[in-house]
Each structure stands twice: as C-alpha cells, then as structure tokens.
C-alpha cells in the first residue's frame, strides 16, 4: 500500500509538489502568528512598564502591604514579614527587593542642648531596609556598625528638608521623652547625617515631604529594639514593599499574576492589609490592548488560512479527478472503500508531516518578516525578534497539521464512494452549481450590504467601542469578505453571458480559433469557477488589504506627525528667582535660548509658550479650560507645517494675519461653533497662574500644529466621552507684555521647537543635550514617535499579516492557475490532437489559449480589480475607525498606493504569462498522432 502511494505520488509529482507547497505555507502561516505575537506582546509588556517608569517616575511592579500595629499581640507584623518572603512565589514573579519600612508613632522630641530656638521637633523614629543605598549623604556620615554611638544614642539620618525646617544641628542629641526602650530608658538619638533623596530613585514610595518627618535609624537596630519580639510594646506604622522584577515578566506570566494577585487581595488572610496594586491597572490596560490586537490579527489571518485550505482542497480535488478512473476501477474490482481511503490518508499524513518539517523554519522566517514589515509589502529587517516556541505555537502547529490532513484527505471520502458505473453516470450529467441554485451570491451581497449600512450608521459608536478596548467587531471584517465573495460569485454567474454576448456579436466572423475558444469557455464555465473565484478573491483581497494597510498606517503616521508639530520639542526647567524684599514676588529665570539658535544641527528654532491649563469664562457658561499658545509667527512658521487641505486657507496666511495684527488672536473653530464668537470679538483669558491677558479674534482654525480639537476621555466607569479643546494662539511678546506687572510676571517658561538639518537626526540632538546638559523637563522627538507608531504591534502586525497573506495568496494563485490550466490541457489532449489533424496551425492553438486565458484569467482579474476597489471604498473607512487611536485628530483619508497596485498587477501578469508560456510549451510538444491514439482506449 505504501509503495503504491509513493508510486502514485511520484507519477503526479507536480501535483504532489503543489500540495506540499500548500502544506508548507499553511503550517508556516499558522505558526508565524503565535511566534510573532509572543515576541510582540513581550515587547509591549516591557514598553508598558517602561512607560510607567518614564512618565510617572514610579516603580511599575510593587506590591505594598501596610498595617498599623498598636501594641499588637496577634503577631500580625511577624506574619506579614514571613508573607513577604514568599509573596513573589505566590504572585509568580521574581524578587528584586523587599523593603520594610517601620515608623514609630510620633512622640515629642526635645533637644538635649536646651536651645531656645528649638521647639517640639516633629520627626518620627523610623527604619527602612537598605536606606544607605538610596540616599545621598550631603553632610555628616552614615550609620556606624552598631547604629549607636558610644553614649548609647541611636544614630539617625534626616533629610535636608527636615534638617532645615526643624533647625537641627549635625551631631545634636535629642530625646524622645515618652518613648522608652524595653528596659524603660528614654530613647535618645543623635543626628549622624543629612541626606538628599536622588530624584529618579523609584525605591521611595513616599514623597519627600513625608520623608522629611522621619528620623531614620539603622534598620537592623530598629527591628531589634522596636519590632520583632518587641513589636507588642510599641505602636508602629508598618509598611512592606515587594519590588518585583518586571523585566523578567513575560506575556505568559500575566494571567497567572492577575489570578494570584486577585486571590491575595480578595481571598487571602492578608487581603485587608494589601493595598490595591497599581500594576493591576497597568496589566489590565495591557490585556485590553492585547485582546484587541489578537482579535484583530486573527480576523486578518483567517482569509489567508481559508485561501490555503481552499487551495489544498482544489489541488487534491484535481488530483482525485485525475485518478477517478483508477479509483473507480479499483473499487469495481472489489477494493474496500477503507483501503482506498487509507491510500489517500497515508498520502495526507506524509504530506502533512513533510509540510510541518519544512513549514516550521519557514514560519520562523515569516514571523521575522512580520516583525520587519514597515509598510504594506515593505519589509526592512531592522527589528530583532527573538523566536520562542510557546505552548501556543504548538497548538497552532497541531491545528495547521490537522487542517492540512483534512484538506488533503476529505475529497477522498467523496471519491472512494464512487464506482465506475456512478462515474459514467456523473460524467453524463452536467448539473448546475449548488450555489447558483441557492442564489448564494445574492444572499452574500445582501447580508454584507446590510452589514455595511448598519456599521456605516454607527461609525462613531464603533470608534468609541474600540477606544474602550473592545476588539474589532469580526462582523465588520466578515462583512467586507462576504461582500467580496458575493460579488465574485455574482461575476461567475454573469461571466458566461458576457462571453456569450461577445460570441454572438461576431458569430459569423469569428475565425476557427476564436470560435472554438468561445464555445469551449461557455461549455467549461463550471469547471473554471473555482480557479476564477480564486483569482478574483486574490486580486480583490489584495487591493482591499493593500488599501487597508496603507490607509491605517498612513493615517496613523500623519496623525503622529501632526501631533508632533516640529521635529524636536524641548523644555528646560525654569528656576524661580524670589524678590529678596517680597518673598511672594518671584519671576522665572530664562535659560539661555541662544544656545539652540547657534546649534550646528538646527535649521530653525522657535520659542513656543504653551499653557494647556489656562482658562476662559465664556459669556454663557462656566469656566472652560483653554490652551494658550504664544508664538513668534515667523519662527513658528519655519519649524511647523500643516498638511494641505486641513485648513480653509493656506497655513501661512493665518500666520500672516496674526503677524500683522498686534493683540490679535487665532482661536479654535469651536469658539465660533460652540459659543458664537466672530472675527473682531475680544476675548479675556487667564493662564494657569491666574494672570490675565486679552486680544481680538482675527481668525478661526480647525487645526493647528499640535492641537487636538476633540479629545476622547475615558471616564471613571470606563465609558468614553468627547471633550472639546479650546485653543488661543497669540503673540509671544504680547503675552509677555500683558502678563507684566502680575505675579510671576515676565517671560513664562516656553518650549523650544526645533527643525533639524536634513543630515541631522534626533540622535545628534540627544548627543548635544548630553554635552550641554540643560535640565530637561520635556522632550519629544517626532522621529521617535513615528518609529513607535511603525512598531505599534497593532499596526505592524496588521501590515505584516496583510503583506504575508498577500504574498501567500498570490503564490497560491499562481500555482493554482498553472495547475488548473495544465490539467485543462491534459484533459483535452484528444481534442487538440483532432484539431491539429484537421489542420489547425500552432499559431491558432496559441490564439485559442490566449482567448481562453482572457475569458478565464483576464476577466477574473478585471472583476477582482473592480470588486476590490469597490470594497475598499465602502469598507476601509469603517475599518480604519477600528484602528484609530484615542489621539487620532486628523480626518481619515483613504490611501491607495499606485505602486502597490502596479506590483499586484505585475505579479499577476507575470503569473499568467508564465502559465501561458508553459501551456504553449506543452501544446507544442504534443505529438498529434500520439494524442489521437489517446482516444483509442
């Protein structure tokens, strides 16, 4: 049996090879997804954590426990201390550091020096793990070995703030009168050192003000004296911080961490003392993003998988078709059905295993490709992707192998039933396709058009849902696919009539080659349906996917570019200078601006004063937050731009209007639409410090560099609402003047917007920053953010999957098309022999073939183009809503890239040309007399 199978496979080696290619692609496509997903999701998780570090300046994964131990006899503190040792295992993470932080109840403290100026001193005796490594001692020194001096005074370190506020002296000894040691002696402390907390040390879970109310003693000593066995004698505020290593956490850990943390917080014995961990919010946000991405990417991948299965079904179907006679003869001679089925099952197993063996390395390659996709059909191997086989990958692999096996062997079940008698009977009948009888095409179009209208109507709801973290509605994607499929089938229904129409037009004039090709095509319409549908789907999905990919990415990039109005934005820290005579009067000290102007890598620089917490009182409503922007029109115009078509007039005209009107204001259009303002109206507004300014409206703008007109805000209950943002743009110098004479007057802190030279990058700028060391409080690089957008797993994954899907389907289509036509010629060898015998020239054969290719291939491609364009026009605007991020500002544009289309047409043209050449080769090699013999069975 096995030998028979190998012989059979060898005999049809081209088909076997095609099946193998299909298997390999199916396996590779299937496993590339989890491989990519794993790597992308791990990266995203780290991004989330790092974002917390950079934006909020706190350690992202801390579990904190707090208890107030009042002469506690229950041993709770000891229990928590033990619990902290095992908490990492319980959560499912690794330990970075456990910090215990104990604060004794504050009791009066008096200096032993009887200083007149020293009143009650408000620092509580405290101990914290590993203090020495997280403070900079600016005066005095750290703890001694014992933590006590020779007089039995406890050494303490205090912060600079408390030192100054309390008027302490270094080396001063003080006594807690109401606090005694276990032997009843009052506690005496000595100020051993003064420290400053390093700014970016995430070890500290308390702000510096709170820290300034502590006197820190050596932790070991604290534990010995006031905690441990003695805890029941004191009142201690106990805090425990479990710092978990977040860089060790991977995607697979997340669900365990969530489950375990929930258990600890809700069900464990310690539930009442554990603070709600902030990392749960981070993870929750992450999971929502992940779910949305997973759902979206799976939906995008499904059509490719379906095409692959359809391909395998088609080829194996063809193979059985060829072997039908053999099968039915074997069967008529008494072979069991199961034997025939086993023959094909073995073949399926061999192919699936071979496909698996070759598909895995290809899948790894595919996943790398997914991670290197910059745009549709643009692959740039720049992002390193670690490939890790997870459980998920194996599940996908198993699924793919099963699917392969099913696709290859399923047709055998059908065929193994057929005996030679049935076969002859079947051949004599030419049934109408089932889908035609069921009007499947019309139904599909109806359903999808209904979907289109309902989605179209609810477009705003759709984007809201997405912003709330819901995944892309599969129905939306399915609607577009059904639409394409429905139109494809409809085309198949009418294609024979088109051919018939052309045939009838010149019925009398057609030369023999055309004549026969018309009739052949009409007659074989049903046989061609599958390959034609394949072609139509490939082309139209190709166009549709190209448009989807281009549109979502272009819109996202354009939006990022708009929000990052200039290449670099930097803001320095502005120190305040107090008036020595009146402490309430202070003004900002302006850092040197000329250093930016003289920077060699900068082309243009602009000072932009931005205050997004200003406010305005409208005529008829309450106070409204407004963004105030002070600009030098010329400088500003040189570093910013606005995409064409967003504003009613060219961008520079607005700048000119402002430039020529002293005291003029450009305000956002919602001043007009929401509050009825018009040009010439005067507006008073205040900055965040309450300083007032005013001006006259010269024009309204819908968009402005960096300005977001409407912002989606997530409310506490997770629902999304829209919030209008108001913008006032005016002269930098006018703001300066108007604010003069008011508190903190003069120049307000401004941002510097920089346009770099063409040959300079943001990296050069960062080098400059390192050299010149300005104190940076805000830095944004447009290139950085564009890069982030490109690497956003949702966009990148979408582009990657669509690109990969496109390449795979086009490959399948080319192979499928070739195989179909080779089969179609082999089947008709006798007919071609007769034609040649009757004196048909070779040129006429070529003519006939070309005609057939036109009716079948070119017609399908043209239909595919039309359907793809229509589907893009209808569904892409809805689909892109699903990709819009919450900071999407610009109106969406439908983007098609001509190069994509040419590439698509080019590949298809080449595939069809190759098919034609191969077919002509086969026909020319055909021997007339041998072909005629074929008929004499």
């Amino acid at each position: 049996m096995f030998r028979l199978m190998l012989q059979k496979m060898w005999h049809k080696k081209w088909m076997t090879l095609s099946l193998l290619i299909g298997c390999i692609l199916l396996v590779a496509t299937a496993i590339s997804f989890p491989l990519y997903q794993k790597a992308a999701y791990d990266r995203m998780l780290q991004d989330e954590f790092n974002m917390i570090v950079s934006k909020e300046g706190r350690y992202p994964t801390v579990l904190s426990v707090a208890t107030f131990s009042k002469r506690d006899k229950s041993g709770m503190v000891k229990k928590i201390e033990d619990f902290m040792d095992t908490v990492y295992d319980k959560v499912g993470v690794t330990e970075k550091q456990t910090v215990l932080y104990y604060i004794l109840q504050k009791t009066p403290l008096r200096s032993d020096m009887n200083r007149e100026d020293a009143g009650d001193i408000g620092v509580a005796l405290s101990g914290i793990t590993d203090l020495e490594n997280h403070v900079n001692i600016i005066s005095g020194e750290g703890f001694s070995e014992t933590g006590m001096d020779e007089n039995g005074c406890i050494e303490v370190l205090v912060s600079e703030d408390s030192f100054l506020r309390e008027g302490l002296l270094l080396g001063e000894t003080l006594t807690y009168e109401a606090l005694t040691d276990v032997n009843g002696n009052p506690i005496r402390i000595v100020i051993k050192g003064i420290f400053r907390v390093p700014e970016d040390d995430m070890y500290w879970q308390e702000n510096s003000e709170k820290i300034s109310f502590r006197a820190f003693m050596k932790m070991d000593l604290f534990h010995e004296m006031f905690a441990g066995d003695n805890i029941s004698k004191y009142t201690v505020d106990c805090r425990f911080y479990g710092f978990m290593n977040y860089d060790d956490i991977i995607y697979e850990d997340i669900s365990g961490i969530v489950k375990n943390t929930k258990y600890l917080c809700e069900k464990s014995a310690f539930r009442s003392v554990i603070d709600d961990p902030l990392y749960m919010d981070t993870i929750d946000g992450y999971q929502r993003k992940i779910n949305r991405i997973s759902a979206t990417l799976i939906i995008l991948q499904v059509p490719v998988m379906i095409m692959l299965c359809a391909f395998l079904l088609m080829i194996s179907g063809q193979m059985y078709e060829m072997e039908r006679n053999e099968i039915s003869v074997i069967k008529s001679r008494g072979s069991y059905r199961s034997q025939i089925f086993r023959l094909y099952l073995y073949q399926g197993v061999v192919l699936a295993l071979a496909g698996g063996a070759l598909g895995i390395p290809l899948g790894v390659l595919f996943s790398k490709m997914l991670a290197s996709t910059r745009n549709f059909l643009e692959i740039e191997p720049s992002f390193a992707l670690p490939v890790v086989f997870t459980k998920n990958a194996f599940i996908y692999l198993a699924g793919a192998l099963l699917l392969t096996l099913l696709s290859i062997t399923l047709p055998a079940i059908k065929h193994s039933k057929v005996s030679i008698v049935d076969l002859k009977r079947q051949k004599a009948m030419s049934k109408k396709s089932l889908w035609k009888k069921l009007y499947l095409d019309i139904i599909l179009i109806g359903v999808s058009v209904y979907g289109y209208y309902s989605f179209h109507k609810n477009m705003t709801d759709l984007s809201k849902n997405v912003l709330q973290g819901e995944s892309l509605d599969p129905l939306l994607y399915i609607s577009s696919s059904l639409f394409i499929l429905g139109l494809g089938l409809l085309f198949l229904r009418i294609q024979p009539y088109i051919v018939l129409g052309i045939y009838n037009l010149g019925k009398r004039f057609w030369k023999s080659a055309s004549y026969i090709s018309f009739l052949e095509n009409m007659r074989n319409a049903r046989k061609q349906q599958l390959i034609m549908l394949f072609l139509i789907m490939t082309v139209s999905l190709g166009i549709y996917h190209a448009t989807v990919a281009r549109t979502i990415l272009s819109n996202a990039l354009e939006n990022t570019e708009y929000l990052n109005a200039s290449e670099i934005v930097i803001k320095e820290a502005w120190p305040l200078s107090y008036n020595p005579e009146n402490k309430a009067e202070a003004s900002y000290v302006e850092p040197d601006f000329t250093k930016y102007q003289t920077m060699s890598i900068a082309k243009q620089t602009a000072r932009v004063m931005i205050d997004d917490a200003g406010y305005i009182s409208f005529k008829n409503s309450d106070r409204q937050v407004v963004t105030i922007m002070g600009i030098h029109t010329k400088e500003f115009g040189q570093v910013t731009n606005i995409p064409d078509g967003l504003l009613e007039k060219p961008y520079y005209e607005y700048l000119n209007e402002l430039a020529v009107t002293p005291g003029g204001l450009l305000v956002s259009s919602n001043f007009k639409s929401k509050h009825g303002y018009k040009v010439g109206d005067s507006i008073h507004f205040r900055n965040k410090d309450g300083k007032e300014a005013f001006g006259t409206i010269v024009d309204f703008v819908d968009y402005w560099p960096g300005y977001t007109p409407v912002k989606s805000v997530t409310d506490a209950d997770g629902s999304i609402s829209e919030q209008e943002n108001f913008l006032v743009v005016t002269h930098f110098d006018m703001l300066k003047q108007r604010f003069n004479g008011q508190p903190n007057a003069g120049v307000q802190p401004y941002e510097v917007w920089i346009d770099l030279r063409e040959d300079a990058t943001d990296r050069d700028f960062l080098e400059w920053v390192e050299e010149n060391e300005p104190v940076v409080v805000k830095y944004a690089s447009r290139d950085d953010n564009l890069q982030n957008t490109l690497e956003d797993p949702l966009l990148q994954g979408t582009n990657g999957i669509l690109t990969m899907g496109f390449i795979v389907t086009i490959l399948l289509c080319a192979i499928g098309y070739l195989i179909y036509w080779i089969m179609a010629i082999r089947e008709r060898e006798l007919m071609f022999g007769v034609l040649r015998a009757c004196g048909f020239h070779k040129g006429e054969l070529v003519h006939m073939l070309i005609n057939e290719q036109i009716f079948c291939g070119v017609f399908s491609v043209l239909a595919g183009i039309g359907i793809g364009k229509l589907a893009s026009k209808m569904f892409v605007p809805i689909l892109q809503q699903a990709y819009a991020s919450e900071n999407q500002v610009l109106p969406m544009k439908l983007i098609t890239n001509a190069a994509d289309m040419y590439r698509l047409y080019g590949v298809i043209a080449v595939a069809m040309l190759v098919a034609l050449i191969v077919l002509i080769g086969i026909l020319f090699k055909m021997n007339v007399t041998k072909a005629l013999k074929l008929g004499e069975e």
């Binding site: 051949k427 004599a428 019925k507 009398r508 057609w510 030369k511 023999s512 004549y515 026969i516 009739l519 052949e520 009409m522 007659r523 074989n524 008709r828 006798l830 007919m831 007769v834 034609l835 015998a837 009757c838 004196g839 048909f840 020239h841 007339v928 007399t929 005629l932 074929l934 008929g935 004499e936 069975e937």
Partner: protein
Amino acid sequence: MSDVLIKIEDVSRIFPVPGGEFTALKNINATIDKGSFTILKGRSGSGKTTLINIVGCLDYPSKGKVFIDGREVSNLSERERENLRRRDFGFVFQSVSLMPSLNAYQNVEFSLRLAGHKIDANTQKRVKDCLKMVGLGNRMTHMGAELSGGEQQRVAIARAIAHKPRIIFADEPTAELDSAMAANVTQLFRTMAEKEGITVIMTTHDVGLMDAADSIIELESGERINV
C-alpha cells in the same frame, strides 16, 4: 481509365524504441485512384494507421515518398501540410473525435470555418445537407455526449465531408460499432465516393466490409502482402 490521385513510393517508417528501432512500415508501394474507395486491411499492429497517418500528412515517412496529384507531399513544410489537411482532407478517427463543447451542427460547421469558408446561408445549408446525408437531420443541436457511438461517428463523417475535401482518411471508423452499423457507415463512405467524387481511404480489420471497396491494400507486419 481512372486517374491516379495518390502514389506511395517505397515508404518506410521506423520508430526509435528503447534499445533499438521498430520498423512499422517497410517499402510500401501503392497507387490510389481519384474517386475510389480504398480499404487498408490488416490486423492490429500491421501498420495501417501508420500508413494512413503518413499519407494523410500527419506523419513523415522515414524513407520513401508520397505524391498527391503528382506533387510530393512528404517533403512539404508543416504549414503547407496543415493547409492541405484543413482544405483538401477530411478525417474520421476510430475514437470519438467530436469537439466536446460543440453540438452536432457546430462540429460540422467548424470544418467549414477551418477550411476558410465564410459562414452564410450557403454554408448553413451545406452543414444541414451533410447532416441529413448521414441521417442526423433531426439531431443537429445535440451535443456529442448525447449521441450514440454510431451517431457520433456519422457526425464525424459529416464533418469530414462538409468542406468538400478531395480525400477522406478514415482510421478504423467502424471499430467501435456493431456490424450492422459498421456496414451502414461503410456504405455511407461508398456513397460519398460516388456522389461527391471524394477519394476515400479507410482502414479496417473487419473482413466483412471488404466488398464495398474499389481496391484493397493489405498489410502484415508493416509489409504489403497483396499487389
């Protein structure tokens, strides 16, 4: 005294086979008269089909010459031979050789198109006449698969004669027919030859059909055994 239309001169055909050569025809000489009905007789494998293929310009002789109307055809270019086949020859094959996608009428009309006739009322009448002549006047719109073997073969004959060829080559046209039908078809050829003045060359191994022939060329193992 009738004219010689075809002259076969010392024709041999040798096929290369694995490990040597196979001589399918050996020094065949024959003449066939214009308007005659000639039967190539012989057992299976005797070389009948090879000979009819060579004379019908479907194959080249390895040695020797074939003349039609005094003109050597065995050295013509592929193109000239094709033209000869489509205008001057008609073929009927043993197996079903109708175009599967064409109905009976279209099959017959097709040979007219091939021969370069413009399709008009005359040609339409010719197609119908031919089909009537083979007794299928009432089945013109049937597809090949809807006709019996004999009917299909008769359509093939109608197709072979429609463009008024000078010679009809029929390779075992009766092999798949019962004896009554075979006699019927053979009679049809006979009538063609007489009525339309077409020269008919037919191969058969059926001895019962020999009576109809004007002349018989008998082959055995690639050699002519009757002179």
